[in-house]
Amino acid sequence: MHIPDGVLTPPVWMSLAGVSAAAVGLASAKVRHELEDRQVPVAGVLGAFVFAAQMLNFPITPGTSGHLVGTSLLTVLVGPWLAMLVMSAVLVIQCFVFHDGGLTALGANIFNMAVLGAGTTALVLRLSRRMVGDGKSRLVAGALGGWLSVFLGAVTTTLELVVSGTTPLWPALIPMASIHALIGLCEGAITVAALGYILGVRPDVVRAFEPRR
């Protein structure tokens, strides 16, 4: 879902760069007051894992693949603000070092994958806490948040292309939404599997990021 260079018009990518810069700024302000030193290497290793996992493209339909985004996984583990920062760092490296995602599209990619995904998953997590209780809420949020964040990210990606005049609306939206509805299922499944593993083996890691009240 990484948008390349040359498909968004300047007004579109510039406004999205502004929105993402504001979101990352807000996330930095939030994280600055809450982050503890012992949490820093854990956030780093989760970011490294997401970077690596994003290289594992799996086949979705003949000729098309998908890969984990990882924002939902990060959000459930470390909270939306830190997840946004970690994800943005991953996207920055992919963009500048590997040209995966365009330089001019960096703000759009941060918005579609990091900001939207963290926000969506945080909302789903809050709702599921209320509905199924604390125990299962993380897994429910990983599954639903994972699917929803990929699906919504694909929809906003398409709308950005449409507003840029690159593609017409329906002929782009229908395949984008349907392919990513499938990729989202994998995102949800991988997120639940990873969460189940980490919560089972090292629940203390997740507890270390819970806000102290």
């Binding site: 390349p4 600055r32 290793v45 490294a48 970077f51 290289m55 998908g66 590997f98 984008m176 203390d204």
Partner: protein, 102 residues
């Protein structure tokens, strides 16, 4: 916590360096749709050192492994540096503010 970080790093490096060779090479959802609609990628304004996770001089297999391992290590280090910078400034800034108010 240290063990979690070390084991997690090893798993990530193995995923990047080894498992990535078994990943699907098909274009992703967005690439497929753009290609079908005849939309081409634009030229990047600044060239990246290892475009598409490859280092041509090292060949396709070693090049990808090295690029992937470098990227994974870089992700870890960049996040560490950024968050350290944030937290280091944090307490000082807030204590300075508190000083002003008092």
């Amino acid at each position: 916590m240290r063990k979690f970080v070390l084991v997690g790093l090893l798993i990530s490096l193995a995923v990047a360096g080894v498992l990535s060779h078994f990943a699907s090479r098909s274009p992703d959802g967005l690439e497929t749709v753009l290609h079908r609609m005849g939309v081409g990628e634009g030229k990047p304004p600044v060239p990246a050192p290892f475009p598409d996770y490859g280092i041509p001089v090292l060949g396709s297999i070693l090049g990808k492994t090295v690029a992937a391992v470098l990227g994974t290590a870089l992700a870890f280090l960049l996040i560490l540096l950024l968050l350290r910078a944030l937290t280091r400034r944090g307490p000082r800034a807030s204590s300075a503010k508190r000083g002003e108010n008092a």
